[in-house]
Symmetry: C2
Subunit: 145 residues, 2 copies
């Protein structure tokens, strides 16, 4: 069981944005801070802007920043959106499914129900919970130079 790298990086970028607060930042700052691929992060930022979590402005004085307060970003909703259409097991994808019992198997429904429980649990927390309190100082020291 794992989240996609896309979700993982989305969370990292948003945590970085939450630490920066109102201050804009450039893509290279994030990739340097985490030591991750610029190519992947660019796609992640593009998607997060499309989902209205980030604001991106070109040119002088431009940059990237949170598009809404960190305490309004529910983690379950966010991960559900960055995972898009998760293929928990083969039969979740009509295109690639080859399991002969998928038309009459109860498991798919039970797994979907369990995924709801997963997202509900994460929805009890917001992006702000990841960067507030004593953590903020330590995270800022590691990520913001």
């Amino acid at each position: 069981m794992n989240l996609s790298r896309f979700s993982d990086y989305s969370l990292r970028v948003l945590m970085y944005a939450a630490l920066k607060g109102d201050e804009s930042f450039m893509i290279d700052e994030v990739t340097d801070a985490y030591g991750i691929s610029r190519h992947h992060v660019a796609k992640v930022i593009h998607n997060l802007a499309k989902l209205c979590y980030l604001e991106t402005r070109q040119g002088r004085g431009g940059g990237i920043r949170l598009a809404c307060p960190a305490n309004e970003i529910r983690l379950g909703k966010l991960i559900r959106e960055t995972e898009n259409q998760p293929v928990i097991v083969e039969c979740f994808s009509v295109e690639t499914n080859s399991c002969p019992i998928s038309g009459h198997c109860r498991l798919k429904g039970l797994l979907a129900e369990a995924m709801e429980a997963f997202y509900e649990s994460l929805n009890r927390h917001t992006l702000n919970d990841l960067v507030e309190g004593p953590l903020r100082k330590r995270l800022s020291r590691t990520l913001l130079h």
Copy 2:
């Protein structure tokens, strides 16, 4: 978000075993029924026997069968065991982690908590729930020839 193929195949093998009831079966019956690789299924069966879900006997009159009643096999417990040590995001694996904030990031704990909710939801159901009632007939028709 996806389960490992190992878990997926473990569930398929156990559903097959539950449909067979007390009757033993051979590995080729399962691989033929689902059209999946013998190599993978052999490993899955070996593991399920080690975890005491299946009984395997060699020789004449031997074969594979459930080692306990299907209504005693909780799906959450089973999948937790077949997933073994899931790497939900990079920092769950000490060996491969390269995220610089893993020492002071709250996300890992929240994801672990959400995984508990996922398993708890599945623990409300047993293997028997997957093969009982009207489903049994349809599954038997597809899988047992």
